[in-house]
């Protein structure tokens, strides 16, 4: 097989799910659950959201019927890779008490099948690269994430129709998957087909099991058009020039009071954010049982408890918590990991019940900042 892009027909998507399943993967792909598109385990191509579109704006998410049969014709799914590779609730260890002694009896939980993702967008690929760095790229690693991640297969897709809250092109990404995938699909209509690019040896092996033919110049031109159209269709944008210095210099900005008055501290933004990684631990023991579990669960810097030490919370005010969140995403992350902690997926805007918009808040900070800070004004 040549390394160039190839074409598969619409029917080969079902074959792709079969091939991945036969290779032992749990296949996780876009599917409709409770009125929203999520990435979840599917058993066949019928589970995919054929002809389903979405409408996203600040505080708004609706499914809509498309006037075509496109299967990947949505913007960012509510949940994608993060909850699968970095579960919201996970066993760290289980122990058994005997008298005043105890022993750790389990550190693994139940074994899981490796996961093959189908339909991952570039925003989530880049979020995954952030998690690889945060959770598996430093002195101490989240060993469960590391193991799960190492066996993961990624079939990405080009994001043909970004939503009203998307701004990935501002954050260094774009509609077309650039790296970190095994296969990358671009959906083309009339006739319905997919251009497939190979990103790894495993990807090549999987593609070899499908009926494919080399992509022609027309196919590649169509891919180019899809990407160009999507690039022009971002609903939002963010000026990243000098963001780090801008945020640091804005620590006492009046903008925090205003956004702090609107924020409900519901934590939706941190739950849907694909890069947010903060967790806490919970000890679970049943009354009368000698067994206890330590579990790692997602946490949020929007809770007052998050920064609690003896004597009280270090961030009692909502303004302080919003400042912590956005400053971490857009500024401190750059010092910690050399990249932006925001990939521009827009989920925090869509799923905020009061429609707080990270791009708008960053713009307000810039407008309110002293002239010497933050580059372009």
């Amino acid at each position: 097989m040549t390394d160039g892009p190839r074409i598969i027909g619409r029917d080969q998507l079902a074959r792709l799910v079969e091939v991945l399943t036969a290779r032992g993967y749990a296949v996780v792909a876009p599917t409709v659950r409770a009125g929203a598109v999520v990435l979840d385990e599917v058993v066949g191509a019928d589970d995919l959201p054929w002809g389903v579109g979405d409408v996203q704006d600040a505080g708004t998410y609706r499914l809509r019927e498309r006037d075509d049969e496109a299967v990947f014709g949505q913007a960012a799914a509510v949940r994608a890779v993060k909850p699968v590779l970095f579960p919201a609730d996970e066993l760290i260890w289980r122990g058994h008490r005997s008298g005043t002694d105890f022993a750790v009896t389990d550190r693994e939980g139940s074994p899981q099948r490796p996961v093959a993702f189908l339909g991952v967008r570039d925003c989530d690929l880049r979020a995954l690269a952030r998690h690889d760095e945060v959770l598996a790229g430093r002195a101490f690693a989240d060993t469960r994430y590391q193991r799960r991640r190492a066996g993961t297969f990624l079939a990405a897709v080009t994001c043909a129709e970004p939503g009203g809250t998307c701004f990935c092109t501002s954050m260094g990404g774009g509609p077309h998957p650039e790296n970190g995938y095994d296969l990358a699909l671009t959906e083309l209509l009339d006739p319905h087909r997919f251009v497939v690019e190979v990103g790894s040896d495993t990807g090549a092996d999987v593609l070899a099991e499908l009926d494919s033919e080399p992509a022609g110049a027309q196919d590649l031109a169509a891919v180019h058009d899809v990407v160009a159209h999507a690039t022009e269709s971002m609903g939002r944008s963010m000026d990243t020039e000098g963001l780090r210095d801008l945020l640091y210099a804005s620590a006492e900005s009046p903008v925090w009071d205003e956004v702090g008055n609107r924020c409900l501290t519901c934590m939706n933004c941190t739950m849907v954010c694909p890069t947010c990684f903060c967790t806490t631990v919970e000890d679970v023991s049943a009354l009368g049982s000698a067994d206890a579990e330590r579990r790692r669960v997602w946490d949020s810097c929007f809770s007052e408890e998050f920064a609690h030490i003896h004597g009280g919370s270090l961030r009692t005010e909502v303004r302080s918590r919003y400042r912590q969140w956005i400053t971490h995403k857009l500024a401190a992350w750059q010092d910690q990991f050399g990249s932006l902690g925001c990939v521009g997926c827009g989920r925090c805007i869509t799923w905020c019940p009061v429609g707080i918009d990270i791009t708008a808040e960053a713009a307000k900070l810039r407008a309110a900042a002293p002239l010497t800070v933050g580059g372009a004004r």
């Binding site: 008490r97 101490f140 620590a251 000890d283 609690h308 302080s320």
Partner: protein, 283 residues
């Protein structure tokens, strides 16, 4: 795939090692020092200023600074104030009971940086406990340091920690120990007032001084300001920060202070780095 994923899976830093309580000593009304011996493996090695995550089975886990002597073999010591469910379970556990220990984690006082000069230690309340390993390290190599001054503030005379050792450090090891209390009723004949007020007149040469400060954050901030006002360079003033910590290894995110993960970048940090951060309310 990214290069980080090719790394071998590291040992799990979240699983505790078992340690058995040898002795629990009551230091004050609400503060206890527990001595631990390893059950499963060798005694952990630590540097002065580091902390561990101490686990009371089924109750929870808390970060506690090690208060023992890093230069000598012996039980692992933690001095714990009884302020919550986990700390209460830790100090109430009987002799022979087994606790979980993870660590040691975090940065050290690196007190050896003060060799050849003066060392000033400023402690407030339970903040003396994380400084004790640094003091013991100095005592062990006393001749390598010039003047050593300990300024210690407690709430009341009954809250003074390590009373016998304070006397021994003063009488046997040539350390200037000045103790002050907030509330000096009863038979107290010593100083009354804030420990930070002792800084301006304490006998040390600011330009050759390494200062180590541990206590409530408001006290550390004013102590650091007083030290810098005396002429101690900001990078020679070290503070040990307290933050919420659930993992101790930089993964849970709770302890973040702007770009710092206090559990791995700290807890001991230079005041030159901290000053702009601690001056912003609720950062």
């Amino acid at each position: 795939m990214t290069a980080t994923l090719d790394r071998p899976v590291a040992p799990d830093a979240m699983a505790p090692a078992r340690y058995r309580i040898g002795r629990t000593r009551q230091d004050t009304r609400d503060t206890f020092t527990i001595e631990l011996e390893p059950v499963d493996g060798p005694m952990l090695r630590y540097r002065a200023g580091q902390f561990t995550m101490l686990d009371a089975f089924g109750v929870g886990e808390v970060p506690i600074s090690i208060s023992g002597d890093p230069t000598r073999p012996g039980p692992l010591e933690h001095t714990i104030r009884d302020v919550g469910a986990v700390t209460h379970a830790l100090i109430a556990a009987p002799r022979g009971a087994v606790l979980g220990v993870r660590g040691p984690f975090g940065t050290s006082w690196d007190v050896a940086d003060g060799m050849g000069g003066d060392v000033v230690l400023v402690a407030g309340g339970i903040g003396l406990a994380p400084l004790r390993p640094a003091l013991l390290e100095i005592v062990r190599h006393r001749d390598r340091y010039n003047r050593v001054v300990l300024l210690y503030g407690a709430r009341t005379p009954e809250d003074i920690l390590f009373g016998d050792e304070l006397r021994s450090w003063a009488h046997d090891h040539g350390i200037v120990v000045e103790v002050t209390v907030d509330n000096g009723q009863h038979a107290w004949r010593g100083k009354v007032g804030l420990v930070t007020n002792l800084v301006p007149r304490a006998g040390f040469d600011p330009h050759s001084t390494l200062a180590l400060v541990c206590g409530p954050e408001v006290m550390m901030r004013s102590a650091a300001q007083a030290l810098v006002a005396r002429g101690v360079p900001g990078d020679r003033v070290r503070l040990s920060l307290e933050r919420s910590m659930k993992c101790g290894v930089g993964l849970c995110g709770h302890c973040q202070l702007r770009d710092l993960f206090v559990c791995v970048d700290g807890p001991v940090l230079g005041y030159d780095r901290l000053a702009p951060l601690l001056s912003v309310r609720e950062l």
